[in-house]
Amino acid sequence: MASLTQSRWFPLVALIVIVLALAGLAELAPAVMQRRITQGLINLVAVVGLYVFVGNSGVLSFGNVAFMAIGAYVSALLTMPATAKAVFLPDLPAFLATAEWPAIAGALAGGLAAAIVALVTGFPLMRLSGISASIATFAVLVVFHVVIGNWSSVTGGQNSLMGLPIYVGLWTAAGWAVIAIAVAFLHQESRSGLLLRASREDEAAAAASGVRLVAHRLFAFVVSAFLSGISGVLLVHFLGTARVETFYLDLTFLIIAMLVIGGMHSLTGAVLGAIVITLVAELLRQAEVGVSIGTTTLAAPLGFGDAILALLMLIIILFRPNGIAGGREIAFPKTQPQTRT
């Protein structure tokens, strides 16, 4: 045990234990609470996915929600019952119209599709430097939003896709959260991940030391897109419907806020941010629903929760720019050696 607390694997084990403990607690909670925590775990997968690229490369990406959308729609189209597709999407190409893949195959296909798109779009994008690259990822988000919202024969356009198999419950989400954390940890401890982190600290010095910046960024971008794609899959198979509006600026903001507030330079920060903001958002949601005192209901206006979240994020940026985790990984509390005075 002592060796584990000192080991480099400690953060991985600790984070997995935290996630599983959270899921275990949720098991005992009422059904509504359980749903919220499931959604929180899905967000956690999305935040960890974003972290793999943003945290290690230092380049902010606005595009990951597009990868979530791609994963979501690919899985939705592959797993929806053929009868439902015949009603909602009569013009589907034949192989999609008849496809009724098992859930796990659909999920992996969704993640892979997102990863492939990231590989293709990332190829030009990763040549750009910091800020330009971020803006370009924003363009990726807009492009896929426009395409999914208008490609009516395949995605249903502005209409929701309904009747998706709902198979994501608490433990499916928790399982994928564990996988996401493991993938992100293995990536950041890998040679490619470490070189990328070096380039984040000092781009010029890393390049001068022979780090192939573009290649490592692209690799992280693809891994990140895969996890984002999976989180999109989980989200639509949790809700049972896929709507193009779900995957746009509000979700982008939520995921980025979670990462920034938690601390975008460590995996612990990503996990912590997702958990903390899920709890805060739940409290704010209660505020929007309102508190009844006697016969009057005090309710915050719609949009209040989002405004508070944005404010919280600004306060963190101003006063604790490295987020709650402060850029460090979770560590076993050390017993202070006694010092003589």
Binding site: T121, S134, A139, N150, W151, A310, L314, L318
Partner: protein, 295 residues
């Protein structure tokens, strides 16, 4: 046939002008602070709502109100959110501006609701005029004129006034400019006020064109203008204006030339073209001098 072509050209130039003004407003702030100002969208939106509030009283009042509202909001945002972050890492600034933008948008939705509202602003401009036998919308000509005047005016300000000179110096090398006696606070505040003015102009023209205000009106313009600043070359003001103009023209040309069933994907094609430009010239069409970090 010639008439239709001329119509497309006028459309393209007027929309291009609108995006050029938007991109210039974003470019000004990027120049002095290395900050991509997402909140520029909300400057446009608040100016739009100022027009909604005042247009029944008098059009002049509405325009003045729009300018004051946008410039004031720009200064408040600069003072409260961006000044404490001056000199922070650009990625952090980008996140901060995203948060500021989101915050203002949500507060506005809380205050005015999210439904679009109709504004019959400057109905006289909806009329048509005949130029060499071709009927053109007056509003488009006014848009072109206003864009031209503001672009020339901004250029004059930057080239010929002391404050403009200081601003260009700050854009080139902020620390060096400070060391040589440029007062940072004044220069940055001026840049923000100026970007507010440009946002107000865009808002007035846009509202007159669409006849609607809604909390997300600025965002549509700003997202496309962002792309303009990137392909023009981040940090270069002529680049921003030119890039903005180019994307505006491209949207109209795509609209005119694409087959109808592909028109809904207009933005997708536009951004695809942008990706190609960036592959060839990652620094943009008119790369900024002095942007490259010195080591």
């Amino acid at each position: 046939m010639i008439g239709r072509m001329l119509q497309v050209v006028v459309d393209a130039v007027s929309v291009g002008g609108l995006y050029a003004l938007t991109a210039l407003g974003i470019g000004l702030i990027f120049g002095v602070m290395r900050l991509i100002n997402f909140a520029h969208a909300q400057l446009i939106t608040i100016a739009g709502y100022a027009v909604l509030l005042l247009f029944t009283a008098s059009p002049v009042l509405a325009v003045l109100g729009a300018i004051i509202a946008a410039a004031l909001l720009a200064l408040v945002v600069e003072r409260t959110a961006f000044r404490p972050l001056r000199g922070a890492d650009p990625a952090m600034l980008l996140i901060a501006s995203f948060a500021v933008s989101f915050f203002i948008e949500k507060v506005m939705i809380m205050l005015v609701g999210s439904r679009p509202k109709g504004v019959d602003f400057l109905p006289a401009l909806a009329g048509q005029v005949e130029v060499v036998g071709i009927r053109l919308q007056l509003l488009q000509l006014v848009t072109i004129l206003v864009s031209l005047v503001l672009l020339v005016g901004t250029t004059w300000f930057l080239k010929s006034t002391r404050l403009g000179l200081e601003m260009r110096a700050a854009a080139e090398n902020f620390r060096m400019a400070e060391v040589l006696g440029v007062r940072a606070n004044r220069v940055i505040a001026t840049a923000f006020a100026l970007s507010g003015l440009l946002a107000a102009a865009v808002a007035c023209l846009f509202v007159a064109q669409t006849g609607l205000v809604q909390p997300r009106m600025g965002l549509q313009l700003v997202i496309i203008a962002f792309v303009g600043t990137v392909i023009g070359g981040l940090g270069s003001l002529p680049g921003a204006a030119f890039g903005g103009f180019l994307v505006g023209v491209a949207t109209i040309l795509l609209q005119a030339l694409l087959p109808p069933e592909l028109r809904v994907f207009r933005e997708a094609f536009l951004f695809l073209a942008v990706a190609v430009v960036l592959l060839v010239r990652p620094q943009g069409l008119i790369p900024a001098r002095g942007l490259k970090e010195r080591i």
